[in-house]
């Protein structure tokens, strides 16, 4: 989503046109409902989170101002650092895999072969599935005794692990569901990006004697940078706040092995009613997502010429 910030910045620089008749009042009326929504349900909540993180509030008692106490508590809260690590591990398990797979599929489909449209549609099918529902389906697939995976492994004489009740397999299993769900959708973006690359560039490189592999690394990949930027930014933002699949598949367990940060925020607020501290954790999550996004803008900014109009 952050590409839009960059876009907005470019838009602000638009040359001013003479004011048109009929703007003014109508324009404000047109914008008013959405503006109210953005202020009341996006900006105000952000302010509330920041303010609330300075309070101790268990909902029933009156909120008590505690300054930076919540942040001090955060610094020495081993469980939160653990859940932060779980979140990072989750992101590392799913993002590289689903990006590479999506790109690979897009490259395979970026040619004139029979049934391209058919395959393209099938690959997107996982994306529109209700995450919570699909998580339950995957629970059934991962079922240690009757699930499809272990039944299939049995056929080749392998005893599969207890997947979701095994602390070392639970997180990879949850990450796998994310890969399954997002690969096809990301593929659409890569496919659109690939089709936007002028064919002449490939031809020119081929004439200069570049092998297909060289053409991929030197021509295709650099020109896909804007797509790569968009896909990785939106995917990372999504992955850092994963909730649905964890809630439905493992409930943060076994132990705390799949307790990602967003799940911990939910538990802290709505199970322990520790709203002040939950707000502190939300601030932490926001900060992380913000920094990761800024890092990506910088990384890709150097390598990309972006049409921002």
């Amino acid at each position: 989503m952050t590409s839009h910030t960059a876009k907005a910045r470019a838009l602000v620089r638009e040359p001013a046109r003479p004011a048109r008749r009929g703007g003014g009042l109508h324009a404000y009326l047109f914008v008013a409902p959405s503006l109210f929504g953005v202020v009341a349900f996006l900006l105000l909540p952000m302010v509330i989170v920041l303010v609330l993180s300075l309070f101790d509030w268990e909902l029933l008692s009156a909120p008590e101002f505690v300054g930076l106490e919540n942040y001090r508590r955060l610094a020495s809260d081993g469980e939160t650092w653990h859940s932060l690590w779980v979140t990072v591990a989750y992101v590392l398990l799913c993002i590289p895999l689903q990006t590479v797979l999506a790109l690979g599929l897009a490259v395979l489909l970026d040619r004139r072969i029979k049934g391209v449209r058919f395959y393209r549609s099938l690959f997107v099918v996982p994306w529109m599935a209700t995450p919570i529902v699909l998580a339950l389906v995957w629970n059934w697939i991962f079922d240690p005794r009757d699930g499809a995976i272990n039944r299939a492994l049995e056929l080749v004489g392998v005893t599969g692990p207890d997947w979701l009740s095994d602390p070392s397999w639970a997180l990879p299993a949850v990450a796998l569901v994310s890969v399954w769900q997002h690969t096809g959708y990301n593929m659409l973006f890569f496919l659109a990006g690939l089709q936007g690359i002028p064919k002449e560039l490939h031809d020119a490189a081929a004439i200069d004697g570049a092998t297909p592999a060289q053409r991929f690394w030197r021509v295709t990949l650099p020109l896909l940078n804007p797509t790569m930027f968009f896909v990785t930014v939106t995917n990372l933002i999504g992955a850092f706040q994963v909730f649905d699949t964890v809630y439905a598949m493992t409930n943060g367990g076994p132990g705390h092995s799949t307790e990602v940060l967003n799940f911990r925020i939910f538990e802290t607020a709505f199970k322990q009613f520790d709203f002040g501290y939950a707000a502190t954790l939300s601030t932490l999550l926001f900060l992380i997502i913000f920094l990761v996004t800024v890092a990506q803008v910088r990384f890709f900014g150097k390598r990309t010429t972006y049409d921002l109009s």
């Binding site: 409902p33 099918v125 996982p126 389906v137």
Partner: protein, 269 residues
């Protein structure tokens, strides 16, 4: 030749993996408890039974489906109406503060939804809207910054001067928007509608937080509680999943060209 075979093999594996969980829902939803263990998960149970689906439909489930449908319809209608107005103003009207305001909208796209959940809950609690339709719908019915961005890009892409003729004839901005611009917007509105329908139908965390009674319970929350209620009765769970998935699959089959188009519209160049 071998290259071609490998290509098709890779595509076939991808397609199989994509569809397999859906297939499993379909197969399992029509199995009896006994068939659950006696047959392989990827084979149909014989004879198939309609009991599971019938059982699910006999309970409160249809009501939750209806709740979800109502929520989805209202959120989509709100998104289309309010987003169109705001996006049109940002794209084609001049007014003081336009660029600052638009920058504000775009900046809010960066706010992770996870971060706003707690304050949104507290706001609704202050307003006494917890566990009401108003509380469920309010944060999302006025349109999303993402939708406004999408529609604005589309409006900007329409030829300049479209409005001039109508304006000379004395039409105001509202008439121009409804009579001149809107008929041209069908593809973009279709895309936005599909995205909103899918994300509303699938939404989980906010409904989970803000609602608790059956009056406002949506299907995602109902299915999550199903899991706690019936434990590992996968045949019932899959029957419920089937009911929840069918509308989305239908939407996808009929409108997939809009979904693909949304990718192009997002402004990837």
């Amino acid at each position: 030749m071998t290259k071609r075979i490998l290509l098709y093999a890779a595509l076939a594996v991808g397609a199989f993996v994509s569809v397999f969980p859906y297939l499993l829902v379909l197969l399992t939803a029509f199995k009896t408890q006994a068939q659950l263990t006696s047959t392989a998960p990827w084979l149909p149970g014989w004879p198939p039974t309609g009991r599971n689906v019938a059982d699910m439909l006999a309970g409160d489930f249809p009501r939750f489906v209806l709740n979800t449908a109502v929520m989805t319809a209202l959120l989509t209608a709100g998104q289309l109406v309010f987003t169109t107005f705001a996006a049109y103003a940002f794209a084609r009207l001049r007014f003081r503060g336009r660029d600052v305001l638009f920058w504000l909208f775009v900046a809010t796209m960066m706010v992770p939804s996870a971060v706003t959940m707690i304050p949104l809950f507290l706001i609704m609690r202050e307003l006494d809207l917890v566990n009401t339709w108003w509380g469920l719908l309010a944060p999302y019915v006025l349109g999303t910054p993402y939708g406004i961005f999408l529609m604005r890009q589309f409006f900007k892409g329409l030829p300049a001067g479209l409005e001039e003729a109508a304006r000379i004839d004395g039409a105001g901005p509202l008439t121009i928007l409804l009579r001149v611009m809107l008929p041209l917007c069908r593809p973009a509105l279709g895309t936005l509608a599909i995205i909103t329908v899918i994300s509303s139908w699938n939404s989980f965390l906010w409904p989970l937080i803000i609602t608790s009674g059956d009056d406002t319970k949506v299907i995602t929350v109902a299915i999550a509680t199903l899991k706690d209620g019936i434990g590992v009765d996968y045949h019932l769970m899959m029957a419920g999943s089937l009911i929840a998935l069918v509308p989305m699959v239908a939407v996808f089959v009929f409108f997939q060209k809009y979904i693909v188009r949304s990718v192009v519209l997002t402004g990837l160049k």
